[in-house]
Symmetry: D2
Subunit: 132 residues, 4 copies
């Protein structure tokens, strides 16, 4: 990922900590990808009817993380109130999905990885939120 | 749009007011489209350097409204805490963008329409939030 | 939807037929929303294990239609080769999803509506493609 | 990124080369992020009116790469015709954007990086397309 390198090329200097921001953007992208993959793997499981809540939470988390990655990426003339509200939604989405996937971590490896990636994303978003 | 018809076909009965939900989903889709169009029209204006904040807020609002439309559309096994956090982020995005576009409503018709569509979307989201 | 009104406010004159373009954008947004709703309704059906292919095709079609709506919305300095390739991908996504949902149109009303909306979206995209 | 690890956890065995697929998914995510950042950096440049085409192509490429990453991520019950059409659209988006950004590679470092990331993404997509 060229996230950190791109932040360095922006004509304005960043108002937020560069490294924390790059980590959060990369975590959101990884989380969106992992949740999309987990929803898809759950759908192919023989016990798919047990995985319905997990699939739902994966799909929501993928959408919120994707929007958050884009908004955090933009450094030009943004509104800190919006950054804050989007980070709070993303932290909630990651927490909800980590709990759902966590219930299946013993018998589905994709759910174990997904729960861990969601938790890491929530933490990376919290670090940016605290610096706002 | 077949939003309301699709809500009626869901195997579970909706926990939220069907009409308020359909109005908010349609408002989010209209707002996402209008903000994408406004960012693009601003980009083609001779005074583009005056429109930078407006373009930024349009792009953010389009992304948040798109994610919100998807999450509100899903009726299966969701988390009300996430619905609430996403609605709050969407209301903030609409408010931020309505203010930016509103500053240009006298000289750019696309900004006038966009500010009005953002305000309507914020209101439709607030109606769902109050019913949670 | 303010799609047609926004096309009229763009500082450049459209190179494509305004009405065909507005119809295709609105059809893509309706199709993306309907496919998201259909995937979610399928997930809540007692026979979810029979609906796996339908859910997959719904999710793909929602993503392609959403990207297509954005690209068709933009009128500033675009590349007709990209418009063409994206329309072709969208027509394929609609055709694939209409076929999957169509197999369930007798016993799931959401699949019947979704198949019809996908077909209408494919036709609206074909009309823009022919005018390129 | 846990892309490759997630592909390994899918209950079905992949029909495409696992490493080529993981590389293309990661390249699409990196390209979507980089194009979003490049559009934003261009918007903050003093010569923004010279960057209009570049911004437009960045926005389109970000949207197409994002949809492509999601569709390539899904391994359950997909349609190879859709995978092919989406890869072709993504290759076109990357080629269009690499050309636009490439024109500014001498004076804007974000455009240089973005052009290189677009080219790498196009190549990674071509590798998957050839294996279909």
């Amino acid at each position: 990922m060229s996230t950190a390198a791109m932040l360095d090329t922006h004509p304005s200097s960043a108002t937020l900590d560069r490294d924390a921001l790059a980590r959060a953007i990369d975590a959101c992208l990884a989380c969106s990808q992992t949740c999309t993959a987990c929803a898809d793997a759950c759908l192919a499981e023989p016990d798919v009817s047990e995985m319905v809540r997990c699939i739902r939470d994966d799909l929501d988390c993928a959408d919120v993380c994707q929007a958050t990655a884009r908004i955090l990426t933009r450094q030009t003339a943004g509104d800190p109130h919006l950054t804050r509200a989007v980070l709070e939604a993303c932290i909630q989405a990651c927490s909800t999905c980590a709990a759902s996937c966590g219930e299946h971590r013993e018998h589905h490896e994709h759910c174990r990885i997904c729960a861990d990636v969601c938790e890491a994303c929530g933490q990376a978003c919290r670090a940016v939120l605290h610096g706002l």
